[in-house]
């Protein structure tokens, strides 16, 4: 496979763990110089795909090329061109941030002097200079993840794999990690990002592959995906069950599709395009009609909504990632 403008090209990847097919004919193409989102619930095969593409795990079938090199035949050459930041911050908790980066730099064969210089650059780039000589054990979750990213960037890899880089982070740390990822892409690195959050894919990725049960079930831009699930939804929660039919009628006037009513949660929701007009319209009409409203608002489509629309089934969040 040669250089054809794709940083990652995977065809029909298969991986079995006993009876379970973690990947079942998974296809993926990632254009060089872009951020590509791999979106799916726990157990869909995201981590397995990343572990195969980053040469950590052997594939059972299909073939994959990263930076133009076959992952099965040339793993060492692939490793020289990739960075990997997994679900855990894979940094040494006892060493300081600087000691971590210097150690990884030497293990990337930079030599002591260049490893030290590179560590200094990266600490600055990832805004860790102040904490550079503190033990990583004292770092916040966001700082740890940034150090992990910095360690993946020591050789300025052609392709960077980020496996759920913000899972378990608070919103502020999440924002910090997102900023770092944007900066990396500006530097020319291709990023493959796995995530369970549609919002994260939306914010960072120019293209998104949705994975379910080891297969890619959609490959589209974030806007394209959102328009498939109907984009934003207006949502009304009423006080009295008897009001639900009236609310459905009101919501239907502004909605793009059939409103859905949840009788037990006393909730009515429907997809809308012109979000603000729709919301004010619904609010005004319900007030005029004297309907008692507990809550009203706009909701962005969640991964659950995407899944329901694409597969007809809800995400199986209880199902654990086989490779985890």
């Amino acid at each position: 496979m040669k250089d054809d403008g794709y940083a990652v090209r995977a065809e029909g990847l298969e991986k079995r763990y006993g009876e379970k097919r973690a990947l079942d004919g998974f296809d993926l193409t990632v254009r060089a110089g872009t951020v590509h989102g791999l979106l799916g619930p726990n157990g869909a095969g995201k981590t397995t795909a990343v572990r195969i593409l980053s040469t950590l795990v052997r594939l059972d079938g299909g073939r994959a090329a990263v930076a133009g090199l076959d992952v099965a035949r040339e793993p060492r050459e692939v490793r020289a061109r990739i960075g990997l930041t997994g679900q855990y911050a894979a940094v040494d908790e006892v060493l300081t941030g600087r000691q971590n980066l210097e150690m990884f730099g030497r293990l990337f064969h930079l030599g002591g002097r260049r490893a030290r210089a590179r560590a200094g650059e990266l600490l600055e780039q990832f805004d860790l200079t102040d904490a550079a000589d503190k033990g990583v054990g004292d770092y916040s979750g966001g700082m740890r993840r940034r150090l992990d990213l910095a360690a993946s960037m020591i050789l300025t890899p052609a392709v960077l794999f980020l496996d759920e880089p913000t899972t378990g982070l608070d919103p502020r740390s999440r924002g910090e990690v997102w900023d770092s990822v944007r900066a990396l892409v500006a530097g020319g690195t291709t990023v493959l990002l796995t995530t369970q959050y549609l919002e994260e894919a939306d914010r960072l990725a120019s293209r998104v592959t949705v994975i379910d049960r080891g297969r890619s079930i959609a490959d589209d831009s974030p806007d394209g995906l959102k328009s498939r699930v109907g984009g934003d939804r207006v949502e009304v929660v009423v006080a009295e069950r008897a009001d639900i039919p009236r609310v459905v009628k009101v919501v239907a006037r502004v909605a793009d599709g059939e409103p859905e009513a949840d009788e037990t949660e006393l909730r009515v929701h429907a997809p809308v395009t012109d979000r603000v007009t729709a919301l004010t319209d619904v609010a005004r009409t319900l007030q005029d009609e004297g309907v008692r409203v507990e809550d009203i608002g706009l909701r962005r489509p969640s991964l659950d909504d995407v899944f329901l629309r694409l597969t007809g089934h809800r995400t199986e969040t209880t199902e654990k990632e086989a490779a985890a």
Binding site: S54, T55, L56, V57, R58, R76, R79, A80, R81, I82, L84, G86, Q87, Y88, A89, A90, V91, D92, E93, V94, L95, T96, Q99, M103, F104, R106, L107, F108, H109, L110, G111, R118, G135, A151, L155, T156, P157, A158
Partner: protein, 273 residues
């Protein structure tokens, strides 16, 4: 920085990088001890405490078959016990690195993958040297006086030889157990195994069947062999394995390595399954 730089200056082959990578992993291990000196204190605290407890508390009540000083019997046993428990330290570090994703990071890098394990092993041997030196000083302070000459270096070597063999057991267990908490539980298994040996009590004093098991415990051979080399050959039995302690102290670690090295390598390879 181009990706092509990473094989380093031209002329360096795989062997060079395997050694260089190993050394860098060793540096990491030693930096751990420098940053957390309390860890090495804990690691040494147990054997030092044992030397004091067994030496002073039991020492008065213990007797050595055939006569001889219990201290001469106990101290080499203590050195062996410290080496034997070392595999728990190896396992703990390995399971920690495996569960925290550090091993995965190493494996995703273009470094020699053997360095992940060889670096661990060299670190553990360096730490074992420090442990033995401190324990021997403690023993000397307590009045232990080995009679041998330079043979004590051979004893030192046999102790490290045992520790070397147990690195592979440690790596294998570290990759086998699911989390660091489980590695702590290994102590509960290791402790009785060291008791059923010639470390604290001569096997002849045990019930017949237990004594036979204790005599064949690999660490019993190292204990008896080092007692000989320290010039204080007390408490030896007359079964075949006890009469050939020096030989068996060399052979047992070979057997242990032959069993656990392939198991550890297989387990390491299984990471990519």
């Amino acid at each position: 920085m181009s990706a092509l730089d990473l094989t380093g200056p031209a002329g360096h082959g795989r062997v060079y990088w395997a050694l260089a990578d190993c050394w860098n992993v060793v540096r990491r291990g030693l930096t751990h001890y420098r940053r957390q000196p309390v860890n090495i204190a804990w690691q040494l605290g147990f054997p030092i405490l044992s030397v004091l407890l067994y030496g002073y508390v039991f020492g008065s009540a213990m007797r050595v078959p055939g006569g001889g000083d219990y201290q001469d019997f106990l101290m080499p046993g203590m050195f062996v016990m410290t080496m034997a428990f070392g595999f728990i330290n190896t396992a703990t570090v390995v399971v920690y690195d495996a569960t925290k994703g550090v091993i995965d990071r190493f494996r995703s890098m273009p470094m020699a993958s053997s360095a992940v394990v060889s670096g661990r092993g060299v670190t553990d041997l360096i730490v074992a040297c420090a442990e033995l030196a401190i324990l021997m000083l403690t023993a000397l302070v307590m009045g232990w006086r080995p009679d041998g000459g330079w043979e004590f270096l051979a004893a030192f070597g046999l102790l490290l030889w045992l520790r070397f063999a147990l690195i592979w057991l440690g790596v294998w267990l570290g990759l086998l157990v699911p989390n660091p908490e489980a590695a702590g539980g290994l102590f509960a298994v290791a402790f009785p195994l060291t008791m059923i040996s010639s470390i604290f009590v001569a096997p002849q004093l045990m019930p017949d069947w237990l004594g036979r098991v204790a005599a064949w415990n690999p660490i019993s051979s190292t204990a008896a062999a080092t007692r000989e080399l320290f010039g204080t050959p007390v408490g030896g039995g007359d079964s075949w394995v006890e009469r050939h302690a020096l030989l068996m102290a060399g052979v047992w670690p070979v057997i242990l390595t032959a069993v656990f090295l392939p198991l550890a390598v297989r387990r390491f390879r299984r990471l990519s399954r």
